[in-house]
């Protein structure tokens, strides 16, 4: 890249710069990093040397230089190093001064290879150790724990000396332990192996395993094994809690899905195979509300579309449910098997209708910004906000529904009609209207479930199909007509599914749960909570 004829002048230039100013990044180093005559080792060594000096003597030019290198904006024009930004601005890499006219010599690209790229990322992270933001320093310290080298030690020691935040200090200590673990000195390695045991970072596990594979000294090996066990121990906690949480989350989703069924099937005895499609309608209603917000309302309000989508989803599904009840289901009461077939037919037609209207592909429903992200409880355990909110939402829907059934006039009528239809009719209850309202309520809750599902999964015409079997399992397991049973069954199924998943894998866990339900129903055909009473089976 550089003609050998230029070498003498390069050296002279470098010397003069070195003498004039004691900068962390010398011109010679910069050029070595940039080209190094294709010698990767030399380039890395030069970069580390620059970093080591920067640790003592902060140099504002180093970061833009390395960033430009990483972004491939660094060009060589003879001996001059230029940063050519994407927008066309050109700067001298060393002085930082803008360059008006490009030199006549052709610009050479600075090549990078993968090893250099990795080192470069590390170097940029190391530079961030001196950032003024605590979070940036913390992230940098964590990044440096992964494949750290001994060359970083002075830098880390320096950062540690300056650091005041306890959290960052702990991470820095781990990072230097990680760097020490690769040292040639047995005592240093032993010390590092012990230190690493205090980590609860999943990456440390990898590091310890790598070291264990390379280690020959027995004392260090046993220390490493010990640390490995400690790290695994602290990580296992996070994993168990995580499995518990995903189980709870699945349980809450199942509960939402099954609550509507608990009304339509549990109270009314309608086998509604179109329940899943009513959820799908709720999810598509959410999608439409989202589109509407994006189209007509200012961008600042977009985050609140979900609040508007909840009633829309409820009403859309409830409306469709009421129409279905009036037109079809009304004529099939008392013939559950026929109801099953008719509602299956309705579900096919609804799915096809959605496919014709919106296309067979999934539509994109965006999470509002306040739902993304998560609550970091342990290093290996983060609870996503959308899952947390769905657990909360399922609880709210459950509470609202039981209030409605237990405390309101409509709820009283519903219970009356369910328990004794002719008697309720004699008392002046319009049973046909109550049927429609009850079915609409169940459908509306399915719509709410669909709205919630749109936040965690794909929204497509098949959305309902994937949940319908599970939903029926929950209701059947919980016992028909029992809200409490539905809750226990949903949470129990969710938890057992996710906990088993950790042991035997997702598919086998699902199969095991289904087999369990089949066996359980043999023992208790009426579910966990059987209806007590004399109502003889037909």
């Amino acid at each position: 890249m550089i003609c050998s004829g230029w070498k003498a002048r390069v050296m002279a230039l470098a010397m003069s710069m070195w003498l004039s100013q004691a900068f962390a990044l010398t011109g010679e180093q910069a050029r070595t990093i940039a080209s190094g005559d294709e010698d990767t080792d030399a380039r890395i060594a030069a970069m580390n040397a620059a970093l080591a000096v920067a640790a003592v003597q902060p140099d504002a030019r180093l970061q833009p230089f390395l960033q430009a290198l990483a972004a491939e904006e660094l060009k060589l024009a003879g001996t001059q190093l230029l940063i050519v930004h994407a927008d066309g601005r050109v700067k001298d890499a060393l002085s930082g001064a803008s360059v008006r006219a490009l030199p006549t010599t052709p610009l050479d690209d600075v090549s990078l290879n993968n090893r250099l790229r990795g080192e470069l990322d590390q170097a940029l992270a190391a530079l961030k150790l001196f950032s003024s933001h605590t979070s940036e320093r913390l992230a940098a310290a964590k990044a440096l724990q992964q494949d750290a080298s001994e060359a970083r030690l002075p830098l880390l020691a320096n950062a540690l000396a300056q650091e005041s935040d306890a959290g960052v200090r702990a991470e820095l200590q781990l990072a230097s332990a990680a760097a020490l673990a690769g040292s040639a000195d047995v005592n240093k390695r032993l010390h590092a192996a012990k230190l690493l045991g205090g980590s609860s970072n999943p990456g440390t596990l990898l590091l310890l395993n790598q070291r264990l594979a390379e280690e020959s000294d027995t004392a260090v090996t046993s220390a490493l094994k010990n640390s490995l066990r400690r790290v695994q121990g602290s990580l296992a906690w996070g994993e168990h809690l995580g499995a518990l949480f995903t189980g709870l989350s699945l349980g809450s989703i199942l509960l939402l899905v099954a609550l509507g069924l608990a009304i339509t099937y549990g109270l009314m005895g309608v086998i509604n195979m179109a329940h899943g499609e009513l959820m799908m309608i709720g999810a598509y209603a959410t999608y439409l509300v989202q589109l509407g917000f994006r189209q007509w309302l200012p961008a600042g309000l977009f985050d609140y579309y979900l609040l508007a989508a909840l009633p829309v989803a409820f009403l859309a599904s409830a409306g469709v449910g009421a129409v279905l009840e009036r037109l079809v289901l009304r004529w099939l009461y008392g013939r559950p098997l026929e109801t099953l077939l008719a509602t299956w037919g309705l579900s096919l037609a609804l799915m096809q209708a959605v496919r014709s209207l919106f296309g067979a592909q999934n539509v994109g429903v965006e999470n509002p910004s306040w739902m993304s992200g998560g609550l970091q409880l342990l290093p290996s355990l983060s609870l996503p906000y959308n899952r947390l909110l769905i657990i909360l939402f399922a609880g709210l829907v459950l509470a609202g529904m039981s209030l409605l059934i237990q405390r309101t006039r409509l709820g009283l009528f519903v219970r009356g009609v369910t328990q004794n239809r002719p008697m309720a009719a004699c008392m002046g209850v319009n049973t046909a209207r109550v049927d429609t309202l009850t079915f609409a309520l169940g459908s509306g809750i399915a719509g709410l479930a669909g709205c919630a599902l749109s936040q965690i999964g794909n929204v497509g015409p098949d959305l309902g199909q994937s949940y319908i079997v599970d939903a029926f399992m929950v209701v059947v397991l919980g016992g028909v007509g029992q809200l409490a049973g539905t809750v226990y069954a949903a949470l129990g199924l969710g938890l057992s599914n996710k906990l088993l998943e950790g042991v035997v894998g997702a598919v086998l866990a699902k199969i095991a749960v289904l087999v369990f339900i089949i066996v359980f129903i043999q023992k208790r055909p009426q579910g966990i909570f059987a209806m007590k009473g004399r109502s003889a089976e037909a």
Partner: protein
């Protein structure tokens, strides 16, 4: 429902019934092969290969519909698990057909292609008898029969009925589908079995072989019909209808419904398994989607459309629905699901007796007018 005549000996078919049966036999065994193989292509009377394949497939479905009718139409137990029995029979046949490929697969290995792909070195244990045709025939009957027997024994013993039974059969089928989707189960995962080359050492894709399978399917269908008719004409069939109409009363009369239900349930499953075994060589593929929830429900719809509690109805239903399906999915695919949905709703609302009931009503009305 049907009026139950109390004379002990009922003729299998009336004179007209036997005539129709013989005509059907003639159509399947002589007319169809002649029109397909002997009448040259391009002639009006020529039965195209496409039609033979389609009719063969639909006859397999008709066996399923008949099996569904035995358990649902006559005994009042709606199974949503018949897709599983169909697929089990199909897989038993598929394993044999996979072994018949020999080393002509893509990888030129003695093992089926998917096993080479998974880097398996030898056949898993459940493939041990798959190279014998006799053993395969036994498996086609035994596997669905045994699964149905065990499942049915426990379900009927604890008196699970109605919708509960339907839903747990659905759970069973769903669990089996998940199991068969796994590569580790050794049934080819979600691709299942395909690329069959031979059956009994003869190439599978010739017109003669296609016709042979067609005739075999037709004969099986007619045999199943005779068997079903024979069962329903005997006392056994009456007890089944009593289970459907008033199970508690039957129990008070001193009958235990368990053996009756279990026997008809197992028989129904075996019929489905045989249908599946006939289906696979004609269609050339078997994969776990045959066990999907939708497929099992569709079987119920064929029976419902044709008319539950009659024997000829479900067969007609299978022909009508699948004929409409193969026509609509080609000419207007977006209409098909609307049509199927409307069929589900319309039949349950307006035609509880299905096409057979409609025909009966029409003939009765015609008779009363004259």
């Amino acid at each position: 429902m049907n009026t139950i005549t109390m004379n002990a000996h009922q003729a299998l078919f009336s004179r007209r019934g036997w005539t129709a049966f013989l005509i059907a036999l003639l159509l399947v065994c002589a007319v169809a092969p002649l029109l397909n193989l002997w009448v040259p292509e391009g002639q009006v009377l020529h039965l195209s290969d496409y039609a033979v394949a389609l009719l063969g497939k639909i006859m397999c479905y008709a066996i399923c519909a008949l099996a569904m009718d035995l358990i649902w139409g006559y005994t009042g137990i709606l199974s949503l698990g018949h897709g599983l029995f169909f697929a089990l029979g199909g897989y038993a046949m598929g394993m044999y057909l996979m072994r018949q490929i020999g080393s002509d697969g893509q990888y030129r290995s003695e093992l089926p292609d998917f096993m080479v792909f998974l880097d398996w070195k030898s056949l898993p244990w459940h493939w041990s008898f798959s190279d014998s045709f006799v053993a395969t025939l036994a498996l086609i009957v035994l596997v669905p029969g045994l699964v149905a027997f065990v499942f049915g024994y426990f379900a009927f013993r604890s008196r699970i009925k109605g919708v509960y039974f339907s839903i747990i059969t659905q759970a069973m089928t769903y669990a089996a589908m998940l199991l068969f989707f796994r590569n580790e189960t050794g049934f080819g995962g979600n691709n299942g079995f395909t690329d069959f080359k031979r059956i009994l050492g003869l190439p599978i894709a010739t017109p003669q072989m296609r016709m042979g399978l067609f005739v075999l399917t037709g004969l099986t269908l007619l045999a199943c019909l005779l068997l079903a008719r024979w069962i329903m004409a005997a006392k056994f069939g009456r007890v089944l209808q009593a289970v459907r109409d008033a199970e508690s009363r039957l129990m008070f009369c001193g009958y235990s419904p368990l053996p009756y239900k279990l026997a008809i349930w197992t028989l129904s499953a075996v019929m489905c398994g045989v249908a599946g075994a006939l289906y696979v060589p004609q269609v050339g593929i078997i994969n776990p989607s045959e066990m999907s929830v939708a497929n099992s429900i569709e079987i119920a719809v064929w029976a419902a459309v044709g008319g539950r509690g009659t024997l000829i109805g479900p067969i007609a239903g299978a022909f009508a629905v699948n004929g409409a399906k193969s026509w609509l999915t080609v000419s207007a695919p977006e209409i098909w699901l609307y049509f199927l949905g409307a069929l589900f709703v319309g039949v349950t609302l307006f035609l509880p007796q299905g096409l057979a009931g409609l025909a009966k009503k029409l003939t009765r009305r015609g008779a009363s007018k004259t």
